[in-house]
Every structure is written in C-alpha cells, then in structure tokens.
Amino acid sequence: MSKLPLEGIRVIDHGVAYTGPGATSMLGDMGAEVIRVESIRRFPTMVRGMVARPVREGVEKYPGYADNDPGSRPWDRWWQHHALNRNKYGITLDLSRPKGVEIYKKLVKISDVVIENFSQGVMDKLGIGYAFHKGVKPDIIMISTSGLGDEGPYKGYSTFGSNIDSVTGMMSLRGYPGDDMMIRNPMPVWSDNVAAATAAFAAMVSIYYRNRTGKGQFVDLSQVESFLPHMGESIMEYTMNGRVPLPMGNRDSSMAPHGCYPCRGEDKWVVIAVSSDKEWQALCRAMGEPKWAKGKKFTTVSGRWHNQDELDGHISRWTKVRDNYEVMHLLQKEGVPAGVVTTPIELYEDFHLKERNFFVEATHREIGTCVYPGMFFKFSRTPARIRILPNLLGEHNDYVYGEILGMSREEIAQLEEEKLIGDAYLPEVP
C-alpha cells in the first residue's frame, strides 16, 4: 500500500478532552506516528470517564460506557476516548518522577511535534514546558492550545466548551430572533472542532517551515482566536458599519423561504432554502403547484422575503403531513436545496454515508464490535483508514519502549515494577 502522506513524522500527544486528541487523531489519520502519553497515576479530564472506577453498589447501567457497562477496565470503554483517539500508539509514563522525565527525553529526541492542551502551567510545573523540549531537541515543534491563550491579561483562565462561544460573540448570536440573552443553549459545543483542526494545521505549517529553515516553533494557540475568523462577517459588520449583529435564527438576509419546517411524526424537521426565482418555481412544482403559491406577493425575491411569515405558514402545512426524508428527496429531485434535520440514529443509517464508506465497523479488543465515524477526507492515491483502534491504557508500552526506544525486556519490566508504566490505573486513583 502507498505510504500515507505524513508517514515519517512522529507526534507526541498529551491531549485531554477534545482539542488535543482531535488534532493528533487528524495527523494520525494522515499517517503520522502519534504516540499518546498517559499516566497510571493521574486520571485525565474528560477522556477515560468521570472517575477511574465508577462501579457503585445498586447501580446497573452506566451511561457513557460501551453498552452502558464499565466492565473490568472501565477506562478502556468510555465514549470520549473511542470517538477521539484512533491511529495512535498509547503508552503510559509517570512524568512526575525524574526517571520518567529521563525516558520522556529519549522520546522527544526522536519526535517532530508535541501537542498539549492541559490547563495553563501544568507542563511547566512538571518541568516539561517548551524550554525543556527545546533543550532536548532544538527544532522541536510544540503546540499548546488553551481557551484564551498562554499570554495576556486573561492567560490561564479556565474555560470549557461553550465558554469559548461566550467570549467570541458566538453565544450572543446563537438564538431565535428577538430572544432574551438569558435564553442561550449551552449545547452543542463547536469550538473544539475549530481548535483541533487549527492545531493540526499549525503543526503542519511549522513542519514545512522547519524543513526549509531548520527552525522549530512554540505555538501558543488560543481556541478563541482560532474561532474568531469564523465570525469574520459579523466582525466586519461592526468594524465597517458600527452595527452590533443580532441573532437571525433560521432566517436569511435575502433568501426566502428559508427555515426549518415540521414534518410528520414527533420532532421531525426538514430545512428548505430557496435562493432564486428558479428554485421557487421548482418548489412550487414539487408541492404540486398549490393555489396559494400563485399569489403575486410570492412571485418575486422581495415579495417572498417580505411575506415570509405567511410563506412559512403555508409551507409548514404542506410539510407537516409528510415524512421529512420524503420531502428532502422530492425537493432535491426538482433542484431545491432541502435537508433533513438528522438525529445520530439517522446518520448511522444514512445510505449516502454508507455508500461513501464513512463509517468503519471494527472489532475492538475491549468493547467488541463498534461502528466508528471515519475520515472527513478521501485521498485518491493513499487512502486513509483506521489502522489502530482507540488504544487500551498502556497498550503499546512494549512496542514503543522496546521497538522505538530500543529498551530490553528486562528494562521494561523494571519500569513496570517501579510503576512508572503500566496498563491499569493504580488502586489509589479513584
């Protein structure tokens, strides 16, 4: 099989929660050798569970674990780990002890990129900040992602998920038109997507620059700053025209009809967007040329836009008695942009995604059969695939310490003996 594009690049992954693991999985998907460093001494945030040992008397179901069952190795069965950590070699290493750091140095010496998204100061406190890494490998590329950045008056501010949205102005725009600011939904979280991809991009930009100049880089990546360019036109509205944008909900500045319409069944919806007279005529055709649509007020772009409340009412009455998939296919057949508001169940069943082989069915050592979401890209010559399933804790200790770092069986056994490495959380970890 052809070499994947990033083969030969080694990435150390210290990621927790979503951004770090997401970024390094993207690099791993494209062939980088990602070595994910965990610890049997310290339970990470939002990776392998809320606690290491969740089993409580009298509790039967444990949502979040595969089949709602924590099993004997709960940390290998948690949903976040399975969603985010494929194509990585997983090791454990106690970086709080000098001997652990000495071994870590060996790994750094032969690596290209280090990615971390701990709370501000954690890496420095362990003595393994950028200065340490640069000392070991002068051209190392280190990406540190945090909510607001490692420098500035808010450096080190604690942020999770939608905190990013509140500071970018996104939260002030997420809502129905005319809503009170109090009515703001904390889900879904989106900013980690942008930060993860931005971190992966930053790593590759830095690799290209290093290849040309021999210089490494420390990138202090603020999740908020990664996201702000996605608000570009809202920001330009203010900087050009002095206006503060307000929520538009499902409405558009000029397209009509444009919105989300109820369909048959409980909580079933379809979205429709008409951007031209041609698409309007196509919509009318799809709806069987209803009499109300012949009204003069709906013939023009302006007319439709100014009368959209009435228009939406008519369309809703038509969609309400129909299945949402039926509406989508019917409208698309006529050339009208329309889409179902999908649930996760429907996405797993979606015949387009199945045809595209987006989902990957695999058998995992711990959880058995699982259908994993796959790649967001397709490479024509060097197809990407899930080569390594989400790692068991410490699963690749032997491979990394033995094959990559050249340690003997005895040396590795000694590390296990000293509890510097291992494949289960120490009993004192709750």
Partner: protein, 406 residues
C-alpha cells in the same frame, strides 16, 4: 519577506466560503494564492453582505474582503477552450489547486483530476463539496442551513418546544474550509516526499460528522442508545447546574461549573461554605440535587445582580471556575485579551480604505509578522500573473480581454 508557507503556489478556483477560507489560511501564512474569478462577475461572495456602508458594490463585501486577504486575483473564462488552455498552463506552475464547485463541474470542463495530474503529477487537488465527489447525495443542492441540518448538531440546537436552530453565519462552511486545509497540507507534505500528488475529496457533511464533536455525539449514541441523544434542552438542562447564561449588574456571564469537583469552588466563590454540605445540592443524592435547581438559581441570581461583569469574571476565575463574559461583537473588539495579543489587524484596501479585520488564528514566533494584503480587486493581478508566469505581453492581454477570456 519570508513567511511560513513561502514557496508554495496555489491555484484557487474556489468561491463563496468553504474553499476560500481554506485558501485564505494558506495565503495568510505566506503561500502565493492565485484566485481565479469569472470575468466581469467574480466570486459570488462579492454579492453577499455585510457591505461597507451598505453599498452592495462588488468591491465592498465585508465577507469577501475578510475571506480573500493576501490572495492575488486574476480573471479567466473557463467555459471556452481558450480559457481552458490557459488554465492548464497555470496548473503546470503550482503545487496545490483548490476548488469547491458542484462535483460534476470540473469533469464537465475537462479539468478532472485525472486530466490535470497528467499535466502536473505533483499536483495536490482539493475538492470541497457539500456531500462529496460520490454517493447518492453527490448532486444534491445545499446552502449553509442544509449542511448544518444534515449533521449531528442542528437537532440539539434551540429550545425544546420550538424548531431546531441553525448556527449564526456560515459555520459549517468555515469548518469545512478549516478541515479542508488540514487534508490539503497533509497531502502536500506527502507530495513533497513522494514527488507525486493526489486528489483530496472533502465533504462538508463528513466534516461535521467527524471528530472531534461530531464523532463524540455519534459514539455517545452508539454506546448508550437513545438516552444519550441530546435533544434540545433549551437554556438550562434541568437538574444540571451551574451551567447557563446569567445576568449580572451590567451584562451577562456564562458559567460551566456543573462538574462535582467545581462545587466547593463555587461555594468558596460565593462566600457560602455551607453550600458544600447542603443536602439540597449533594451530588451523592442526584434526585435532591436535581429537584433544587431553582433554589440554587435563587441564591446565585441576586448575588450576581449586585456585581459587575468584570468583578464576577475575575472573582470566579480566581477560584478556577470556568466563567466567562457573554460578549456581543462590540465587546469582542474592545476586549483586553485580544488587543494585548494583537489579534485584530488593520488592512488598507483601495476602495473601502482602512478597516479592522480578524487577524491570524495563531502566530508563529519564529516567523516575522507582515501586514495583511487586502483582498484583490477583480482581475487586479492579471498582468502580474499572465505576464510573469506565462510570459504574456500587453497586446496578448488586450486581445484576451477583448474576447472576454479574462
């Protein structure tokens, strides 16, 4: 001046948002990006607002200006043989080509990857489309709301008793552009090693269902069934707190502190140590805690209303509580953190003049910062590119302009 991606040449056929944001990221970090637009008409984004002073002029679209910084602009009619021939000459000169037309278009123009790789074997061609280059939905039409709906996200956005809500603006398309540049850079780095390029097929739908957020929603359902599917919960998830927007004296704040380990910090922050052991709010008794959500709000709200947003944020952060101000866009521009870090940047444009724009998503300390160049006027760099790259002289360009090729 030498920038991070100096030396990389990109031919940019893309339009609207997804493709242009991908190439903007390349251009902003120093790649030479040549944006190809239709003569006379240009990129459709030039017709989208907000417009400078509300004048819907093709050189005054704020969206276009933001998305096309640092790019050079040429015009070329790809629907005629003469234009196609010139395009193929340009393809020979570049490392990367990005397009986001409907999937049938490049093939219909005779410019499929199979054709172009023969002209330039090291070419990385990235095609960003709504649903991908293959599959039953391949030719389906989509706008932002359609792309956002067909993902794990829209179903959960909004109020429980109202219709699901799209995100403001063009978030799905910006995301596809960001994911697209990841796949493009990866393929490009590979082409540098192997000497051979490839076709990169990026689907907006797949980006939104992918890691990290999309994948976690899907896997959560796969593991824990329908109970794990987050329906719209509205502004508060009953029983899970503190996790919402709250008003304070002079604005709003957002607090994300519903994890057990944060409760003692919340108690300390409010100066109410008794909360830690208050049986109404005990995590060990989820039923009780759930039932007393409103009681907690009744404690928190008056406390917040007596304090300014700045006080609230500072005091909460001192206790390591994830609490941040809810900014409107004017607040964002005033924010001390962004200004201290020099995030925003001023760009001088020949028609709209000097305006503040969002700057780089991250800085590279080893690389000198240079000011952003403005988005190109339509056909602004025809002479530079056709002359400099292809050796066309003024007469050639006049001829091509008269025949509508450029």
């Amino acid at each position: 001046m030498e920038q991070a991606l100096t030396g990389i040449k990109v031919l940019d056929l893309s339009h609207y948002i997804a493709g242009p944001y991908c190439t903007k990221l390349l251009a902003d970090y120093g790649a030479e990006v040549i944006k190809v637009e239709r003569p006379g008409v240009g990129d459709g984004a030039r017709r989208l607002g907000p417009f400078y002073r509300d004048d819907p002029h093709m050189e005054k679209s704020g969206l276009f200006l933001h998305l096309n910084t640092n790019k050079k602009g040429i015009t070329l009619d790809l629907e005629v043989g003469s234009g196609i021939k010139i395009f193929k000459e340009l393809v020979r000169e570049v490392e990367i080509l990005v397009e986001n037309f409907e999937p049938r278009v490049m093939g219909e123009l005779g410019l499929s990857y199979e054709v172009l790789e023969k002209i330039n074997p090291r070419l990385v061609m990235t095609s960003i489309s709504n649903f991908g280059q293959s599959g039953p939905y391949r030719d389906y039409k989509a706008t932002e709301i359609v792309s956002f709906a067909m993902s794990p996200h829209m179903y959960s956005e909004g109020e429980p008793d109202r219709e699901p809500l799209k995100f403001p603006g063009y978030k799905a398309q910006y995301l596809a552009g960001t994911y697209g540049v990841v796949a493009t850079m990866g393929a490009f780095l590979g082409s540098q090693v192997s000497g051979v390029g490839q076709h990169v097929d990026v689907s907006i739908m797949e980006c939104l269902s992918s890691l990290p957020e999309g994948a976690t929603v899907l896997i959560n359902y796969a593991f824990s069934g329908e109970g794990a599917v987050i329906r719209r919960t509205g502004y508060r998830r009953e029983g899970v707190y503190p996790w919402a927007v709250y008003p304070c004296q002079d604005g709003y704040i957002f607090i994300f502190a519903m994890l057990p380990m944060m409760w003692p910090r919340v108690a300390r922050w409010l100066g109410m140590p008794a909360l830690v052991d208050d049986p109404r709010f005990a995590f060990a008794d989820p039923k009780a805690r759930g039932e007393h959500h409103s009681d907690f709000d009744a404690i928190l709200l008056p406390w917040l209303l007596e304090r300014t947003r700045e006080e609230v944020v500072k005091s909460a952060q001192a206790e390591r509580i994830p609490l941040t101000p809810v900014y409107t866009i004017d607040d964002v521009l005033e924010d001390a953190q962004f200004n201290a870090r020099g995030f925003f940047t001023e760009v001088e444009h020949p028609v709209v003049g000097r305006v503040t724009y969002p700057g780089l998503p991250f800085k590279l300390p080893e690389v000198p910062t240079v000011p952003h160049q403005p988005a190109p006027l339509l056909g602004q760099h025809n002479q530079e590119i056709y002359g400099g790259w292809l050796g066309y002289n003024q007469d050639d360009l006049v001829r091509l302009r008269e025949r509508g090729i450029i």
